[in-house]
């Protein structure tokens, strides 16, 4: 945990610097604008467009440095802890759960939300939850069907269908 505390503080510090850099960017229509021209006070107008994000990102950076100092002086629980940041169990779990969410999102581009939802539920219920096949299939099929009627039909929020769209055309015929 001690190492993770420092690594995180450094990474967040780098993020802060990136945000400061981005905050200073000029408008895209004006190729002559100078970076960081917008972070100060404009006369008679008050702060420029980059003022708020730039200086707050600087505050972020400062608090990361403060966290670094606390780390060095071993003041926070995390900086004293010898417990590993991710136990093997946690790492496996994160990989299985977090990874499956990323796969879920990737699949939405191909199979749409309903198809991706179906596969995700089968994976999670069957392989992580070790539920019976019948229970797995009934939930995995029931949730997309319920969602279709709730979102597409009742709420008129049309979820993307990916390559499965042609399958839904007859359903639109009946329900919409």
């Amino acid at each position: 945990m001690r190492r993770a505390e420092l690594v995180t503080a450094v990474l967040l510090g780098l993020l802060s610097i990136y945000l400061m850099w981005e905050a200073g960017e000029g408008p895209s229509w004006d190729p002559d604008s100078v970076r960081f021209a917008n972070i100060g006070m404009i006369e008679d107008e008050g702060p420029g467009s980059g003022f708020w994000p730039f200086w707050l990102a600087l505050v972020m950076l400062a608090s990361c440095i403060w966290t670094g100092v606390n780390w060095w002086r071993r003041k926070t629980p995390a900086s004293r802890s010898s417990v590993p940041f991710l136990t093997p169990h946690a790492r496996a779990m994160l990989f299985q759960v977090g990874g499956s969410l990323i796969v879920f999102m990737g699949l939405t581009h191909v199979l749409g939300y309903y198809g991706a939802m179906f596969l995700f539920l089968i994976y999670y219920l069957r392989f992580l939850g070790r539920h019976s096949l019948g229970r797995t299939l009934s939930i995995a099929a029931g949730v997309p069907v319920f969602s279709f009627f709730f979102f597409d039909v009742a709420m008129r929020i049309v979820l993307p269908k990916g390559y499965l769209e042609p399958l839904f055309i007859p359903l639109y015929d009946i329900f919409l």
Binding site: S28, W29, P31, H109, V158, P166, F168, L176
Partner: protein
Amino acid sequence: MSIMTFGKNTLLGAAAVAISTAFVPAQAFEPIKPIDFVIMAGQGGGADKMARLMQSIVEKENLAPRPLVPTNKPGGTGAEALVHMNSASDPDHTIMVTLNSFFTTPLRQPGLKVDILEFAPVGRMAEDTFLLWVHKDTGITSFEQFLAEAKKRGRGWVMGGTGKNSEDNIITDHLNNAYGLKIKYIPYKGGGAVAKDLAGQQITSSVNNPSEALGFYEAGNVVPLVAFTDEWLPMFPDVPTLKELGGDFSYFMQRAVVGAPGMSDAALAYYTALFDKVYKSDAWQKYKSSKSLMGDYLAGDGLKDYWKVQRDRHTKILKASGAIK
């Protein structure tokens, strides 16, 4: 992500074409899935109100076999909506309600690579009008008095308006340049907030659309001084136009429906006919007259020519005010 969307587009498009050619003749287009009805502004604004009214009319009169599904995409004064339209996976089922940011946003954000003339001209539903409003406690009742008072106060005269480099800003700039004024312009997020701050005398004037200021006008809180139109507005018979007072300036807000680039001719013909019906409906005509909207239905090449004129005009205006180079 863009690569994946592209792959999906082609395949989906192919599937849609396959289905549409299989079941209906190519000439008579009918939507086969819910129509993506993009609104180039946030919920509750003027464009949103109109879009939802159009949607209601289509539903109520049962004009289309599939519903219009409104989606608000206000990001970057319409930049997000324009990009969404440009990369629409199914242009035959994607239409958008636009305002004047349709002209200005592609000019202000060239990185979007949007050419508005590629959009399908479905139909212009109306042109919204602008008036100059002041609070009644100022005692000002005519444009001349306004000019005198604004000149006297210099930067102390404050105009509130919706957005920077927007319609309201353009009109304010014109007043400043043409009459040698130094009005200070404060951008707001929406016309409603501007109207409220004028009624509360947080600002000294506004150039609200009639629909935004009507409540306070009827209650007698605010007074219209001049209309930025070519003809008198029937709702405000005592208010002269700027042209009558010697100014060579009028300005309107387009309220038009456009189709995504790449929309087929059959689909364009379908939507043009659909919105023609909406335009002719009683509900729309009533709304149009009660909110003092002008402009006739305009579609096809006529609408495209209108866009060309408007784009050139806005290029000139924005260049003059230093908002683009």
